[in-house]
Structure formats: C-alpha cells, structure tokens
C-alpha cells in the first residue's frame, strides 16, 4: 500500500495513467482488434516527440524564461542538410548523422552565444536563431523532397518484434538523459540553476558552462530527431518540424516537469508523448476531423495544467 502511495506521489505517474486510460478507451472502441498495433504505432510515432521533448525539458529545467523556440527550425535544417549530404548513398549514413549533429552543435552554440553576449531573454535569442536557421533550410531545400538512403529508411521504419528502431533510439537517449540528470554533477548543476541562479552561482556552480551545454544538448537532440524523422517519413520537408514546437513544450509540461524550472522529470516525457499520440488516434477512431482533434488537444493541455496546479496548491 505504501508502495502505491509513493507511486501516486511521483509527478510522472499521471501522464502514464492518462495514456493508459486513453489506450483502453481506444482499444475497447475497436473491440480489442487493434491493441498490439496501436501500442506499436504509439511507441513509433511518439519517439520523435520524446527525443525533442527531452532536450526541451533540460532547457526548461534551467528556470523561468528558458525555452528553446528554435527546435523546429533545427530539426528541419538538420534533416534537410543531412539527407542532401547523404545523397541516397548507403555508405554515407554515419557521416550524415555527424552532419546533423554538427548542425545541432552550431545552432546550440550560437543560441547561447546570443543569450550571453546580447543579454537577451532565451525566448528572443532562440526566436531570432530559428528565423535564420529556417531561412537556411528553405534556401538549401528549394521545396524538393530528398529521399533518405534506402538502408537508413529501412532502419528507421523497421525494428525487432515490430518495435521500431526509432523508439529504441529514443529509449537509449532518455536513459542517458536520466543518468545525466539524476546521477551526474551536470544534473545537479542545472537543477540548482533552475531553483535559483544566484544561489547556484554563489555555490560555485559553473552557471554559464552548464547553461551553454544545455542549449547545445537541446539543439543536438533536435537535429537527431530531425535526421530520424526525415529518414522515417521518406524525405525532409520544410514544414516537418512545425508541429514539434508546441509538442516539445506540451510533453514536458504534461510529463510533470515544473514550468518554473528546477525540477525535471524524464519518465514523464514518455507518458506524455504516448498520451498525446494516443489522444489523436482515439479521436481518429471516433471519426472526428482535424478541427475537433486540435480543439480536444488544446483543451486536454489546459485541463492537465489546471489539474497540476490544483495538486500543487493542495500540497503546500
């Protein structure tokens, strides 16, 4: 009983409970026929949101005002340039990944460079950067759909026992992120910065270094997600990152990470991403159109944040 009680106190449990409920309702509606297929599809399609959301979570942990708006542009640019570089050649898959990661490193470095040198809020710095990155992507893409190398496309869309490889990559990334956050000095650093930057500085935390690293990690994760998404969906498109701006913030918040910073939550990203995908597929099975789907998504995000606020006030 006490185990259950301690479990309900975990902030991430609610996103999994919600995801489970939506899963159950959807499966019941289809008469249980789609149980396995739905689960596998959810794991596959949520993995991109999980990778991007993990990076965004690290940034949001840094405290109020820290948010990376350049995520969608970075995804698009990394996907476009990497695919262009590989030019449908199987032998260039790994160098292509390195190209994507290099783009992430560059975008992340400039992001923090702008924040630090111009002393502007991260929202504006990453916003400016996203404009510039998006333009670079438009310029290099020219509306063409470049195909991924066949072996990479095969890797992205298949996997052991029907579990897509992209989901396994997402799992690997979140495990690494969890170790970094919970078991390394870096995790302590960004959590303390999020709780009080002044106190962290006085305690000798290398505030600038930790913040720099966080923005770089976020951009690199976004570019890896862009690389995988472009390979998964058969080519890079200019709008491929668009939905991940709102999605990356939504999964962080629904997953139980504090928007005010200082408290992060890795498992919650999984619950929230699965939940967001399952909601869309549930509304799809009810035959509702895109309009209703979006309205419901919005109402759910607001409902979750309202419930979370109630929980916080009752605790204090």
């Amino acid at each position: 009983m006490s185990a259950l009680a301690s479990l309900t106190r975990k902030p991430w449990i609610w996103s999994f409970v919600a995801a489970g409920l939506v899963w159950l309702v959807t499966v019941l509606f289809t008469g249980g026929a789609s149980a396995l297929g739905l689960t596998l599809a959810a794991l596959t399609f949520s993995s991109f949101a999980i990778i991007v959301g993990t990076g965004q979570m690290l940034v949001i942990t840094l405290g109020p005002g820290n948010i990376d708006l350049s995520v969608p542009a970075t995804m698009t640019l990394a996907g476009t340039l990497a695919l262009k570089f590989m030019a449908v050649d199987n032998s260039l898959i790994l160098p292509g990944l390195l190209v994507a990661i290099a783009i992430g490193l560059a975008v992340g470095s400039v992001n923090y460079g702008l924040i630090k040198l111009l002393r502007i809020p991260p929202i504006i710095a990453t916003l400016c950067m996203s404009f510039i990155v998006q333009s670079t992507a438009i310029w290099s893409n020219r509306g063409l759909r470049i195909k991924p190398p066949p072996a990479l496309a095969e890797f992205a869309t298949s996997g052991p026992f029907g579990i897509a490889n992209v989901a396994l990559v997402a799992l690997l990334i979140t495990i690494i992120a969890w170790i970094f956050l919970e078991r390394s000095i870096y995790g302590r650093w960004i959590t303390s910065i999020g709780q009080s930057m002044a106190a962290a500085r006085m305690a000798g935390v290398p505030v600038d270094g930790a913040r720099f690293l966080t923005y770089v990690i976020c951009a690199v994760l976004a570019s890896i997600a862009g690389y995988l998404l472009a390979s998964f969906s058969g080519g890079a498109a200019l709008n491929m990152g668009a939905e991940y701006l709102l999605m990356s913030i939504a999964v962080v918040v629904i997953g139980g990470t504090s928007v005010a910073g200082g408290f992060s939550n890795v498992p919650g990203i999984w619950g929230a991403s699965l939940f967001m995908f399952l909601v869309v597929s549930m509304l799809n099975t009810y035959g509702l159109g895109a309009g209703f789907r979006m309205i419901m998504t919005g109402i759910i995000i607001i409902a979750v944040i309202l419930l979370a606020s109630r929980r916080n006030t009752s605790l204090t």
């Binding site: 916003l127 333009s135 310029w139």
Partner: protein, 315 residues
C-alpha cells in the same frame, strides 16, 4: 551640467533609428518607393502586424507571453471572412465572445497562478481547431466595409501610415494615460504591491487580456480586408512577429516596461525588412532569416546604448 536624456527616450531611439535607417536604405535602392503609392505598398501588410504586436504588448505588460497570438488572429480572420461577411451580427457576437474568452483566460491564469506560455499554447490548438472547422479550405470573403476601410486612400498620407499612427496613439492613451493602463503596468511591475494598495490584480490581468483579445480581433479583421479571403493558417507567423515587434520596440519581458509607440514602430520595422530585402534582390528564401538578423542587430545596438546610459549615470 550635462544634458539628461530620459531613459524612455533612449528606449524609443533605437526602434526609431532602426526604422529610419531601413527606410532610407529602401528609398536609396528604389527612389520610386518615395511616393504615396510606394509607401502604401511598403507598409500595407504592416497594419495587421502592428495590431497583433500591440495585442501581444498588453500581455507582455503583465509579465505574460501569448503563444496563441498567430492562431487567434487566424481564427479572427476566418470568422471575419465567413460570419462577419454573411451575417454581421452573429459574426460580431462570436468575436465578442472570443474577447471574453481572452479575459477569462487572463483571470484563470492569475487565479491559479498558471504559466501563461502553457495555457496560451493549449489555446492555440483550440483556436486553430475552430478555424479549421470554419474554413477547411482557404476561402471566404471580406465584408465590404472592411475592404473599403483597408483600401481607402486618404489625401496626402497613405492609409497604412494613418492607421499605424492611430493604433500607436490609441494604445498609448490606453496604456500610458488611463488609470487602467497604469494598473496594468503596475501588475507587471509588482503584483503584491498592487494588491496591498487595494487594487485588484485580477481585474488588471483580465483587462489586459481582454484588450489583447480586442486588438488581435482587429488584426484579423484588418488582415482579411487586405487579403479578401482567409484560411486557418493565414497568420500563424504573427505569434513570433508580435513578440519580436514588442521587444524591438523597447519592451521588456518583465517589469511592465513596454512602449506602445515603440511596439508599432517595431512592427513597421519588421514589415519593412521584407521589402528592403526584395529591393536588394535577396531571394525570398532569406526573408525570414533577415528579419531574425535585423532583430539581433537592433538588440545589440540597444545593449550598446544601455551601456552608454549606465556609464553616463556612473560618471
């Protein structure tokens, strides 16, 4: 005894300088733009952007951020192109209800101490969803009065300039000269002291959101007046443009420090940046990127001026 320049003047100087520099550059590249028609073409699309920027400014004044601005302006544009065109009374009622929703949003954000970024993020899905239901495909028509208002040709000065001046004046009066405006900025400055002084921060926040909703609705109407039709994604980029415009115009994210005149100038600068680049024959691919770069330059300039200001105070 040195000449003291008020801080607010310095804040306003940067956007004015940026706009003038861009304007001079445009005139130099294309002297024919220095005419009634030329100016109208340059600034025409700036009117809805200026309205959206002013709307965002009211939210920033109470230390919040509206990530649903683009979605909401698109929604308002869709209502304008459908209901406001076919049955004006119903259309007006829907838009009034939407403003009421904005006020309620402000109240809830205050009462439950919610992060505005997340609430408006959720609302952006809702507005886009309704807009998609209203207009699944681009279409609709502009009400005749909106069309004639937006294409009016007043003597001497083009409509776009007249409209921008009116927007700047009206919002300046609301925010800087009324007691409600002072209350709104005070909530941005220090909420506790507002409450202790016996004023209601709840009222101020709801009012700020309602004003934002009102100006965003006007932005949607103005946009349809220019484009004559609408679709659910017509104004999505306004979210980022409006935030950038306020900051460009000397606004701050916290502390209730915003400038209505600066915000309008910031919006005009961003709109003009596009024309400037096309005169430079830079490919349209780079238009958004250049807006980002201009923003960076202006912010760097402001940092430089702030430093000067501090040195003068110190010395």
């Amino acid at each position: 005894m040195s000449l003291r320049i008020p801080v607010d003047t310095i804040r306003l100087a940067v956007p004015v300088l940026a706009l003038s520099a861009l304007l001079i550059a445009v005139f130099w590249l294309q002297p024919r733009a220095m005419s009634y028609l030329g100016l109208n073409l340059l600034f025409n699309l700036a009117v809805p952007i200026a309205l959206a920027t002013v709307a965002q400014m009211f939210i920033l004044a109470v230390n919040d951020l509206d990530l649903s601005m683009g979605a909401f302006v698109s929604f308002a544009a869709c209502v304008t192109a459908t209901f406001l065109h076919s049955s004006p009374l119903l259309g007006a009622l829907i838009l009034a209800a939407a403003v009421a929703v904005y006020a309620a949003m402000g109240a809830i954000i205050h009462l439950r101490n919610l992060p505005s970024i997340v609430v408006t993020l959720g609302m952006s899905f809702v507005w886009t969803g309704i807009a998609v239901l209203l207009l699944p495909a681009p279409g609709g028509a502009a009400p005749a009065w909106v069309r004639s208002l937006m294409t009016a040709k007043p003597p001497l000065v083009p409509m776009a300039i007249v409209a921008s001046v009116v927007i700047a004046l009206v919002t300046h009066l609301i925010l800087m000269r009324t007691s409600l405006g002072v209350l709104i900025r005070a909530v941005g400055g220090n909420q506790q002291s507002v409450a202790r002084a016996g004023w209601s921060p709840l009222l101020a926040k709801a009012a700020a959101y309602a004003l934002a909703g009102t100006f965003a609705v006007l932005a949607g109407i103005a946009l349809v007046g220019l484009t004559t039709s609408a679709d659910a994604n017509i104004a999505l980029r306004y979210t980022l443009l409006s935030i950038a415009g306020v900051i460009l115009g000397g606004g701050e994210f916290v502390g209730g420090r915003v400038s209505p005149v600066g915000a309008v100038i910031g919006a005009l600068t961003l709109a003009l940046a596009g024309s400037f680049l096309s005169f430079l024959r830079i490919s349209p691919d780079w238009q958004i990127g250049a807006q980002g770069a201009i923003l960076v330059i202006v912010l760097a300039l402001r940092l430089f001026l702030n430093k000067l200001e501090r040195q003068e105070r110190g010395g």
